[in-house]
């Protein structure tokens, strides 16, 4: 109730750290359950993801995806919305990227294609968020449920398109033709001097992701729109009182969120696969939820959380190779645990922590 408060640093750094630590401790127990040594597993994981150039490259490649999907979830959080549809929005974003690349790749260099691909990714992702947003804003249907439904609808739609409409002529594969050079982003090591990520697919999109972080930070904390989004998220009645339109904020925020999720496809489709194929999103949209929760919906936190999950994905692959009993499904387990401890159980350790701080600060006393 009116219990004391934690210092800011404890609230923003210590609490999340404890929660994430709890998630990893339980993950360790799962490893024990399988009969492997968790310490060894961590060693393999860290070395596999950070111990060599190519590992780092893969880590950053995955992190790029997670930054986009994490930002998408985070911006919606600020408006008090739960966009669980990053998966479907990213899938549709891929369609936007592919259309731009297929149209332009034979005629222009990549840096001409890129703005169109970005626009396509953002527009298609945003479009897929638009209907749930409008339904929530105008008809009060819960955005969580509708975005879940839209994930499934997206999956059906994309399979249909890839099988019946967009597949390479004469091929049974549900995928488009491979893009030419004009539809391929350069690797990060070719853009940044003195870097070498071996054959890892980390590419120009990583810089785009960092730019997106800056964009979100400025938007949320330095613009009038961001102020309106945060007001709406914190207190809807006060937002209406302040003349902020709930319909407009809900729709605009969801469009931004869907657009960011769609941008993930730039990394996968234009940066790595160079063709549109089914199920390329493979859960990265959902990882965004864990990343946003862990990063406390702040761009800086999201970058760290995304890199951590990038490590898990890359290190997890190494781990599956070194310790065959620990398959890549371990990542999904950890993801679930992070969402559980950093999200649903985020306040579990708070009372204990308050007591610790209460004991520590008791002699000083606080004026009422």
């Amino acid at each position: 109730m009116t219990a004391g408060q934690l210092p800011r640093w404890a609230d923003y750094i210590l609490m999340p750290a404890i929660n994430v630590a709890a998630a990893f401790i339980v993950s360790g127990l799962v490893v024990l359950l399988i009969g492997e040594n968790p310490i060894e597993a961590v060693k393999v994981l860290v070395w596999g993801s950070l111990g060599w150039n190519e590992g780092i490259g893969f880590t950053l490649f995955y992190a790029t995806n997670f930054i986009f999907t994490g930002l998408a979830v985070a911006i919606a959080f600020h408006a008090g919305l739960f966009n669980i549809g990053g998966e479907g929005q990213a899938y549709l974003g891929g369609l936007g990227v592919a259309l731009a690349c297929l149209a332009l790749d034979r005629y222009v260099p990549w840096w001409v294609t890129l703005p169109f691909a970005v626009a396509g990714a953002a527009a298609f992702g945003a479009a897929w968020a638009f209907i749930p947003a409008v339904l929530q804003a105008k008809r009060g249907s819960h955005v969580v449920i509708t975005t879940i439904m839209f994930n499934f609808i997206a999956a059906s739609l994309m399979v249909y398109l890839l099988v019946n409409v967009m597949s390479k002529p004469g091929s049974m594969q549900p995928e488009t033709r491979t893009f030419e050079d004009g539809g391929r982003l350069p690797l990060l090591q070719d853009v940044l001097p003195f870097t070498d990520f071996g054959s890892a697919p980390v590419n120009f999109s990583f810089l785009l992701a960092l730019a997106a972080c800056l964009f979100v930070w400025v938007l949320v904390w330095r613009t009038r729109l961001g102020y309106e989004i945060r007001t709406f998220g914190a207190n809807q009645t006060a937002a209406v009182y302040a003349g902020i339109s709930p319909v407009r904020i809900t729709v605009v925020t969801m469009l931004i969120s869907g657009g960011l999720a769609g941008m993930m496809a730039i990394n996968e489709i234009m940066g790595s696969q160079h063709r549109l194929l089914i199920e390329f999103v493979s859960g990265y949209g959902f990882v965004g939820i864990a990343v946003a929760l862990m990063g406390r919906a702040h761009p800086v936190g999201i970058v760290f959380a995304a890199i951590l999950f990038g490590m898990l994905y890359q290190g997890g692959a190494e781990l599956a190779f070194e310790m065959p009993a620990i398959t890549r499904d371990m990542i999904v387990v950890i993801q679930g645990l992070v969402i559980l401890f950093a999200g649903a159980l985020e306040h579990m350790f708070r009372p204990a922590l308050l007591r610790v701080f209460g004991v520590l600060s008791a002699p000083a006393g606080t004026p009422a």
């Binding site: 109730m1 009116t2 219990a3 004391g4 330095r222 613009t223 009038r224 729109l225 961001g226 102020y227 309106e228 945060r230 007001t231 914190a234 207190n235 009645t237 006060a238 209406v240 009182y241 302040a242 003349g243 902020i244 339109s245 009422a368």
Partner: protein
């Protein structure tokens, strides 16, 4: 009335963090009496009753029921001891029938069938014994509040309550419904039940109780026989000193009209017209007060004028610009641009985002103002500077513009809202319940500010359920009843006359 005690509280003590809600409370309630507990908002009445009903645990002290010391661990224990409670906000399931609500928690067996028919018979008996008729198969959401309250009383009686606690029962009732309630309470008393009536309205204490205890700042400061006290004495006990809610102000010099409302009708979510064809005018340099029992449409009227609430018909003219509220998409931002400022009734729910720092709340609703940024961007240096100026001018404490707003006291939060709304130089200010939950020092400050605003040639439309506040501030008084403005009076008008208007005297005969 016997000398036996139904309830005796000895040294009850309760703290919520730094707030000492109940200090060493001693209270004796005689069996078969109606005992009033009166005090201002926040005096600790509700906390005390919640302890008695097992909702909270006292930190110290003893509760005796029928002479025996008891420990009340939860509502279940309270019910077992024969204590029933009618909460201020009804504890009813809206889409359940009356019968389902009554048996909830006292179903009489794992399968409903038997219990339901027994309950039906019991309800019939209670209805006959205590004049408490309600259709057992009606759905709660369809019933008017007066009947919903009756269901709450029935719930308590059905559980065999001998001691009935009513927490601010008349806040939502019309005067006629309140009178009916008091009649029911007297019947209950005559049948041997004990009634504890919690209220902050002195009139009700005088009308309904046998004894009265006065609470102030968590303490019981006096207990009196109702017949041997007066409203004046009780009022004095409640506030601790003789407060003359009088503000030094000269006569008004009304100028041009700054706010005109014509034919405003508001329909709420249930399809009931809560504001009916209201027209009024506020001129520059005057304060117009709207008096009325809460729930008679004042809140909705204010929100409709502020552009927050959808209306069925009607128009508003602010400083010469006429807006048809029903025909155009209006929002609060548009009204603000016309020079209309609004201090809402409920600052926590509406006026502030309590998790924001103070400076961000100081721009709420004015965040598009060019003074606070350029283009799409906000300029936090300018925002903080402006916030510091207001903190200085309104003596907001602590003077920290980056402090989370939730950490300010009620009075200081209200000052944050007031400073924001007044300092942007409006032509007309709407104010709802400006001093609810505000300490006395801040009340004086706020009242002075409002008068100063009037004297600076602005219009003020004031809604308050505190008649004394209306009297002290307003230059003209409009009385609202059942969604209509039923009369206009001078603030010096007799209590009894205003009271009759507030009770809807004009339409009373037709309604009965």
């Amino acid at each position: 009335m016997s000398e036996e005690l139904a309830i005796e509280l000895v040294g009850i003590d309760k703290r919520f963090g730094p707030v000492h809600a109940n200090k060493n409370i001693d209270l004796k309630v005689r069996k078969g009496s109606i005992h009033g507990i009166v005090g201002e908002n926040g005096a600790g009445k509700s906390t005390l009753m919640s302890i008695l009903y097992g909702f909270y645990h006292a930190d110290g002290g003893e509760i005796r029921v029928d002479g025996k010391a008891v420990s009340i661990a939860g509502s279940q224990a309270a019910i077992a001891l024969g204590i029933g409670m009618v909460h201020q906000h009804f504890m009813l399931v809206e889409n359940f029938t009356v019968l389902e609500n009554v048996i909830l928690g006292a179903e009489g067996g794992p399968v409903l069938a038997g219990g339901v028919s027994r309950a039906r018979a019991e309800l019939k008996r209670l209805a006959a014994d205590y004049d408490l008729k309600v259709d057992p198969d009606a759905v709660i959401g369809d019933l008017p509040v007066g009947l919903q309250q009756r269901v709450e009383i029935l719930k308590a009686l059905f559980r065999g309550a001998d001691i009935l606690i009513l927490d601010e029962p008349t806040g939502v009732l019309t005067p006629a419904e309140a009178d009916h309630l008091f009649r029911i309470l007297r019947v209950l008393r005559d049948e041997g039940k004990t009634v504890l009536l919690i209220t902050h309205k002195l009139r009700e204490i005088m009308a309904a109780t046998d004894h009265v205890s006065v609470m102030r700042r968590g303490e019981i400061v006096a207990t009196r026989k109702t017949q041997k006290t007066s409203m004046g004495e009780l009022a004095e006990l409640m506030v601790g000193r003789r407060v003359l809610l009088e503000v030094a102000k000269g006569p008004a010099t009304p100028g041009r009209p700054v706010l005109q409302v014509e034919g405003l009708t508001v329909r709420d979510g249930r399809g009931v017209d809560v504001v009916r064809d209201v027209s009024l005018e506020v001129r520059a340099g005057e304060i117009v007060g709207i008096a009325g029992v809460s729930g008679n449409g004042q809140s909705q009227l204010l929100e409709a004028i502020a552009g927050i609430r959808k209306v069925r018909s009607g128009s508003v003219t602010v400083d010469g610009t006429r807006i048809d509220l029903a025909a155009t998409e209006v929002d609060a931002a548009r009204m603000r641009r016309l020079g209309l400022a609004h201090v809402p009734e409920d600052r926590h729910r509406m006026g502030l985002v309590t998790r924001f720092p103070e400076c961000e709340n100081a721009i709420l609703g004015y965040h598009h103002d060019p003074a606070y940024g350029r283009g799409a961007f906000l300029d936090y240096d300018a925002i903080r500077t402006a916030a510091r100026e207001k903190i200085e001018k309104y003596d907001i404490r602590p003077p920290q513009c980056m402090l989370k707003t939730a950490n300010f006291s009620g009075g200081n939060q209200q000052k944050i809202v007031l400073a924001r709304e007044i300092e942007r130089d409006p032509v007309i200010l709407l104010v709802g319940q400006p001093t609810r939950g505000v300490d006395i020092g801040a009340i004086e400050f706020i009242h002075k500010r409002l008068v100063a605003l009037r004297d600076a040639g602005k219009g003020v439309l004031l809604v308050s359920v505190e008649l004394d506040e209306i009297r002290a501030l307003a230059d003209r008084v409009l009385v609202m009843f059942d969604g209509r403005v039923v009369g206009e009076r001078a603030p010096e008008t007799e209590d009894s006359e205003l009271g009759l208007l507030m009770a809807g005297a004009a339409g009373q005969e037709a309604a009965e």
